[in-house]
Symmetry: C2
Subunit: 572 residues, 2 copies
């Protein structure tokens, strides 16, 4: 492509409203432009990247045996009423009425439409399993759209839906999709992890998220340094420390701690290592318990995990922290002075807390703590549960190695949906015995436009984007220096442009007549992986100048060998 | 593709609500399914066709130098208010409000969005001309969606918008787009015509429609049998008959015609050839005329052309036929008895009428006609204009050959928009002198999903669809007979499937175990261009059976030569 015939829409300044680096660079490199809040136009340079991601996703989905379809963006309300989601979806669903006053939405997802299709088209177990996917524009009316295409309102998604005669068949396709997603992200050359995830609002029996690792990621992921184990931090199991609980080595004492209402204050003011302190968090009890409140104990430096706590029979869901007045009424002390000794409400201790000895905690009197508490002696042996978030260095729950925690950007999600939609919408097939059975379903998403932003979050430097080669908008930047003054430079550049293009190499040939500094900066900002500079100084010695986007320095390449050199570098 | 792993969703019965053959066949062949009125899901078989059309369009648009972008489907109302179309578009535009009560529409077209983009991104005449296109989902809330994807509400469109520093540059790109469209429809192997069109509601200075010819087409097209001339029938110029007006050969007489209120009745009851009769149509006059009504005269067998009539200075636009009461008040006779003799309102005669002699027309008295009327003698020489639709056999307006009239389906449209949007939205660039000039624009659409339906309207028979090869969902149907009983058949089929697939041939291999009749009927209905049958009867003689979709009979092909035979047939 000749740059003079192409929209090179680079910006010098970082737009003020772009908070994350991918959003900044996508604007600055001229990949996207904002139309309105959460709505972006893909400019030619950006669309090339998006289409390359799309092609890799499509090829691997086809290879997996999934069948591509294309469903309407606009969906009738009736189907959503059938599944019960018309009311549930809330303001995130963009709703509208047509000229006949019938209700529709701009589909945020397509479970209802595909289930409706399949209940009509699939009749027999012989047609199963079947996996249908589409790559299609979706709309979610985010309360606060941000981060450019990372959390846009209108976005491009690959969504797939599989149909099965039983759970075993679902699990088989689920594994195929897991492997397909790994192939997709491998081909995209992104560092990623499939992580165990909370199935969350869609509901279902098993799910994994695919995260592209990047410091700016919204989600924390825990993964083993010695195995495939990876899970969302909220979901990773925190094991008990190994070994037996150490025996008590000191007597319990009651200490005046008038100015210590937090663990940090306690540790700062007294000679108590934080690993010897315990936090007591009071939450609303469930109706199963003969008490209004329940105390949850975690070590001073650990974080309570709300998802884990909610799952306990004793705890009300959703989790609600007790108000100070409730706590005072039940215990007689404020939230800064609570502890297990003599506590009148049920106590559940985190696994780590249960293995502690000689620890300190509030004394259930304002301004006082107990130091040297020991279970069994000073307080009743507590009920024990996994209550906390895992931390860097924790043992991996699969028993292999230790956990590392990194941040990730969710770009894919695979779900075992089960019969949630097929039951609600009565989607059945006849089984081998001729009996109608409700189909079992899976669903599998990839945020195609979000992948582009995630790739940038993971791959950039101060100069700009560093594209993984398979999704770079162009492979090679061909930059002639002072072509308007040197016929030799111009002729060499034109000839190389022709030859390289004929080899199928995607060349961005900067024939705009810009100064070298502008060309170099533009091409680094855009992130073209390979750069070839043609100048008189080099040509005097028969050389051209090559530099890879991640290289520190350029190297001289003799003119006569440059095609072979580039074929080697680009692998063509 | 193995048919057992693929959604072959053929139907035996023609769905009741499908009026046109393409809609019937798209449902019966399992290409689409209806989700709601005017909303269709593309099934795997249909989507393959749609994507092939899309690919050809994209390749040729890229070759033309146009740059692909992707704009949001959802568009903010403000831009449409700026262009003045938010109010004008009426109920056809699907409107909605987001969670913050801001107004949006599901874009029926993208002039506003692209003009907004280009007024921000294009600064200098040096960046022009520029032509941006997208292939994207649009929505038009048709009052009466019908004919399947032919007139759906949600549809796939290629829309392009070009920007220029002056009209000459626009005209150059317009010509390039004309040629690009011709290449696209050539590659699609469709019989089509670029026709002169009425620019209509979008407004502009020049436009052509691209029509796929098909008997079921909604539009009538007139085109020369000896030149490139083609125009929408409404727009084609009707020339005057050659030669001078014949001299009068009889006296005018007043005849009682009490039962002849129409031309057909007059011709049926009296010895008047229809070519000797004149119809008098009374319409409202424009404000330029010193009368309320104007009489328009066309030959008895000709049709008044409303568009042509409206353009006359004497006639009010839009055209309004006068009520009987108005006519009686002005002329003293009813609409069935009008004519030019002694008429008290202005008369405009069609070119053909002006060349007639000895003709008959109403006498402006109820129940009476004049026969043998001659201009100049019995009635004043009239004002003359082109007032009628052209007819089959008329001379071509370009002077070359004669017109044929066929029906067409509009699948593309190219417009010279001029400055309609750029002026309203203040889209300027600096010209060579550094002066801001309003950009001149063109726009160019192809109804990608409609092309699929049009291709079927043009190419089908009683058995089903006959795809043009470049857009067939699969090139070859591989049909084994009784494979479940014959290992030889099964093995031969499997081996051929492998070999042909490795050659890159798109094979639909019917391994479902259906009876031969079902397989043959399905593949003809789906319209696969080539068919290869493998059966024991043929294999006994070392033969397979080949049949092209348009062939009357199948031919035997020796097993050992079949690959070469097919490569030759398929051109691979």
């Amino acid at each position: 492509m000749r740059a003079s015939k192409y929209l090179i829409a680079t910006l010098k300044e970082t737009p003020a409203d772009a908070e994350v680096v991918s959003h900044q660079l996508m604007l600055r490199a001229g990949l996207i432009r904002k139309l309105a809040s959460g709505l972006y136009t893909w400019l030619p340079m950006g669309l090339r990247v998006l289409q390359k991601v799309e092609t890799i996703v499509r090829e691997e989905m086809n290879r997996s045996g999934a069948q591509e379809v294309l469903m309407p963006a606009v969906q009738p309300a009736e189907l959503w009423r059938e599944s019960g989601r018309w009311e549930n979806m809330g303001a995130e669903m963009l709703r509208m009425k047509d000229r006949h006053d019938r209700e529709f939405c701009f589909g945020p997802t397509h479970e209802e439409v595909i289930t409706d299709l399949c209940r009509n088209e699939l009749r027999s177990y012989k047609q199963l399993p079947a996996n249908f996917y589409q790559i299609q524009t979706k709309f979610r009316d985010e309360r606060r759209p941000r981060f450019g295409v990372m959390r846009a309102r209108e976005f491009l998604m690959k969504d797939a839906y599989s149909f099965h005669v039983d759970q075993a068949s679902l699990e088989e396709t689920y594994r195929v999709m897991h492997d397909t997603y790994c192939r997709i992200f491998d081909r995209l050359q992104l560092e990623y992890r499939p992580v165990l995830a909370d199935p969350g609002a869609i509901g279902g029996t098993g799910s994994q998220e695919f995260h592209v690792l990047a410091e700016s990621g919204e989600d924390a992921i825990a993964f083993s340094d010695s195995s495939d184990y990876a899970a969302n931090v909220e979901l990773a199991e925190a094991l008990a420390p190994e070994g037996e609980r150490p025996a008590p080595s000191r007597e319990m004492e009651l200490v005046d701690t008038p100015k210590a209402r937090t663990i940090a204050e306690l540790v700062g003011q007294f000679d108590q290592p934080i690993e010897k302190t315990v936090k007591t968090l009071v939450v609303q009890a469930s109706e199963d318990v003969d008490a209004d409140l329940v105390a949850l104990l975690v070590r001073g430096d650990h974080e309570l995990n709300a998802i884990k706590a909610e799952k306990l029979a004793e705890v009300a869901a959703p989790l609600r922290m007790a108000e100070e007045a409730e706590i005072r009424a039940a215990i007689g002390a404020g939230p800064g002075s609570l502890g297990p000794v003599g506590l009148s409400i049920p106590v559940i201790a985190d696994r780590t807390v249960a293995k502690m000895s000689d620890f300190s905690a509030g004394a259930n009197q304002d301004g006082k703590h107990h130091f040297g508490i020991n279970w069994g002696r000073d307080a009743e042996e507590p009920e024990v549960a996994d209550l906390r978030n895992v931390e860097d260095g924790d043992p991996s729950p699969d028993g292999k190695g230790h956990l590392q925690i990194k941040r990730g950007i969710e770009v894919g999600h695979i779900f075992q949906l089960g019969k949630k939609y097929s039951q609600a919408m009565n989607a059945t097939v006849l089984d081998e015995a001729g009996k109608a059975v409700t189909m079992t379903m899976g669903c599998y998403g990839i945020g195609v436009s979000r992948v582009v932003a995630a790739a940038i979050e993971q791959n950039h430097d101060d100069a700009g984007i560093i594209w993984p080669e398979p999704i770079a908008p162009y492979q090679l930047a061909l930059l002639p220096i002072n072509a308007n003054k040197s016929e030799r430079v111009r002729e060499t550049a034109e000839k190389l442009y022709q030859e390289l293009s004929e080899l199928g190499i995607e060349v961005l040939y900067d024939d705009r007549g810009e100064r070298p500094g502008v060309m170099f900066a533009n091409m680094e900002l855009i992130g073209i992986p390979h750069r070839l500079v043609i100048g008189d100084r080099g040509l005097d010695k028969g050389n051209l100048e090559y530099k890879g986007r991640r290289d520190e320095k350029s190297v001289d390449v003799p003119v006569e060998g440059v095609i072979e050199f580039l074929r080697d570098k680009l692998g063509v």
